[in-house]
């Protein structure tokens, strides 16, 4: 009978999962590469893809991310979802000490606001100035007397840390002072549901986990007049930073490892009621791994979302906190968009019945209703 095809899911689900398993682990695998070796190769060759999964999943674990990436056949949102679900089962032992990003060993350090900055401009590994030609990196000319050395000579000897561009502007009073105090408001959004208006910390945590494509599009809109933004990158930094904890039973701080982070400090249009009060404003982006696109987009959005705090009128979508924060999470978004694949025949049936009833008596309401609108 025909209805059997409509219902009856257990067998179909089993068969569907079998099809995936056969693709993931083919029985007649000619190369016979062990799965853990493939994962290693993924992390080696698709580092930026792994970084993106870790950032959006908000879990720094390269092995888990690679495992999820493989299981998802390269679908990064599916991989993020798998890592998020895994993350939800982990116990939390301690909060880490705040990361000391200015002490990090930068692999990249770029300022667009000044020609040179303390610590030096450091181009590092970037696609920025490459020509997007297939095979481009196979046929590079041998580097000789490179005009742009990978590190500035004077940096090599000195281990002292340099103050950032923002600190220098702050000393001159040209930029608003940073308010980085840890408060009750800085509650982990994955533990306590955030409401609106959110604190800046909750907002930044949401953006750091947000879908890169969504942030990119929203940030782009601020550059095209939807939410005023006149941004300059003060510092864009990518590098490894120590993660430190202070276990109460030890009473002192220990380093438990290093993670790669990308940070963007953005200078933005000035603000203030009087000439003396006028200062530049800040936007901030911080992302797991190497992901400059997302760090910059995040900094632009952070600044746009500070509109109410800075007394600006909220006019553009990118300034609308409830709109941005409610729609930026790709695990939430993909679930709800894709849930349309689930059977909806019961509610659709009620819609069909309603429409049929309306069309069967088209004039009933207009003639019967006293107002006759």
């Amino acid at each position: 009978m025909s209805y059997v095809a409509v219902k009856g899911g257990a067998g179909a689900i089993g068969a569907a999962h079998q099809l995936i398993a056969e693709t993931l682990y083919p029985k007649d695998n000619a190369s016979d590469t062990p799965v853990d070796q493939i994962q290693q190769q993924l992390d080696q060759h698709l580092r930026l893809g792994i970084d993106r999964i870790m950032a959006e999943a908000s879990l720094y674990d390269r092995d888990i991310a690679a495992q999820a990436f493989l299981q998802a056949q390269g679908d990064s949102i599916e991989a993020v979802f798998i890592v998020r679900a895994y993350r939800a089962t982990l116990s939390r032992f301690l909060d880490a000490e705040p990361l000391k990003l200015s002490d990090s060993q930068p692999q990249r350090h770029v300022s667009a606001a000044f020609k040179d900055v303390p610590g030096g401009q450091q181009l590092g590994a970037t696609y920025d100035y490459s020509h997007r030609l297939l095979g481009y990196f196979l046929h590079l000319p041998a580097p000789q007397n490179a005009a742009e050395p990978t590190t500035k000579p004077e940096d090599d000897a000195s281990e002292t840390r340099h103050s950032g561009v923002m600190q220098l502007l702050e000393q001159e009073g040209l930029i608003e002072t940073s308010t980085a105090a840890l408060t009750e408001e800085n509650r982990d959004i994955t533990q306590i549901p955030p409401g609106f208006p959110a604190s800046r910390a909750q907002r930044l945590q949401t953006l750091a986990r947000a879908d890169e494509g969504f942030l990119l599009g929203m940030a782009y809109s601020t550059q095209r007049g939807y939410g005023q933004n006149h941004p300059f990158i003060a510092e864009l930094r990518q590098g490894s930073v120590n993660v430190e904890i202070t276990p109460p039973e030890l009473g002192f701080t220990i380093c438990i490892g290093q993670i790669s982070m990308t940070e963007c400090q953005m200078i933005n249009q000035f603000h203030g009621d009087t000439p003396e009060q006028a200062t530049f404003t800040r936007g901030y982006g911080l992302v797991f791994g190497h992901n400059e696109r997302k760090a910059i987009a995040m900094a632009l959005l952070d600044r746009a979302l500070r509109a109410p705090e800075l007394g600006e009128k909220v006019q553009a979508p990118a300034q609308d906190e409830e709109f941005v924060l409610s729609h930026c999470d790709n695990v939430e978004a993909t679930g709800f968009v894709e849930h349309l694949k689930l059977p909806h025949h019961v509610d659709f049936q009620s819609e069909i019945a309603t429409l049929r009833a309306l069309r069967a008596h088209p004039k009933k309401g207009r003639t019967e209703h006293p107002d006759g609108l």
Partner: protein, 273 residues
């Protein structure tokens, strides 16, 4: 891999349990809860799954339905999930279940005292199509100002001659809160009123939960001259002959021949005997 009983850790369960008790104490009021990422997608029942995970114990008997049926794909998937992480007994029989997790239907068989209905809810805010901002609707709920919804019903009546809402029909709970009954057909709404079962609602992606205690007033919005009139099924069930159940419409061939069968598969089976 070994998971905790019912997947959620005990602390997450406790947070949901505290919210559930408050939800029961304030019928129809939406409460935020710290929704966790479950290994099933948002929009596919994570709210209902988390509520079930927070209440379920070893002695429970679980029934899971989607579109009224126990063997639709997502119902199978959720039932398998709980079988795997709790090991509790499952059933397809409404009368034997202590917990019934559902998407889009209320069983035809009347519910009993002691049973708990767990609804999967996509959009918990009944006003969301009229006012998408939570910050605004929260104020409207505080004021008990539901004129937006009444205006929409009025607009339907002037335009179409009737209230043209087939599913997710807005209801007033305990004469105080406007509530989404979840996308069940309007046909099912009267079953909620003074139900002997506890009804709890979970929206995982939207991070909200709410409840209707047993024996509570659940009244669909209506006007005196346009009373609530849910549409009845067009034909008796082709399998069991029931005149009173909600039906799925099945297209049999290319000519568009239709057949109507019970959406509630358990009811249909009981009725045949």
């Amino acid at each position: 891999m070994d998971y905790n009983f019912a997947y959620l850790d005990e602390q997450s369960k406790r947070a949901i349990r505290r919210s559930l008790l408050k939800a029961v104490a304030i019928p129809g009021h939406q409460l935020p809860f710290a929704s966790r990422e479950m290994p099933l997608p948002y929009g596919w029942g994570t709210g209902g799954i988390q509520l079930t995970a927070a209440i379920i114990g070893k002695n429970d008997v679980l029934k899971v339905i989607d579109q009224g049926a126990d063997d639709t794909t997502n119902a199978v998937s959720i039932r398998q999930f709980f079988a795997r992480v709790t090991g509790v007994a499952t059933t397809t029989k409404t009368v034997k279940a202590s917990i019934i997790q559902t998407r889009h239907r209320i069983p035809e068989t009347p519910l009993q005292e002691g049973q708990i209905m767990v609804y999967q809810v996509p959009m918990p805010e009944p006003l969301f199509k009229l006012e998408p901002r939570r910050t605004e609707t929260r104020i409207l709920h505080a004021l008990g100002d539901y004129s937006l919804m009444y205006l929409q019903l009025y607009d339907h009546i002037t335009r179409y001659g009737r209230v043209a809402i087939g599913y997710d029909f807005p209801v007033m709970v305990h004469d105080r809160y406007l509530m989404s009954p979840s996308p069940i057909p309007a046909f099912d709404v009267p079953k909620m009123h003074m139900s002997p079962a506890l009804q709890i609602f979970g929206a995982g992606r939207e991070k909200q939960l709410y409840a209707v205690p047993p024996y509570s007033r659940v009244v669909p919005l209506a006007f005196d001259d346009y009373p609530f009139a849910p549409l009845q099924a067009q034909a008796p069930c082709a399998i069991c002959g029931s005149q009173h159940s909600y039906k799925d419409e099945i297209i049999l061939d290319d000519k568009g021949t239709r057949q109507y069968i019970c959406s509630d598969t358990d009811y249909c089976e009981q009725h045949r005997c």
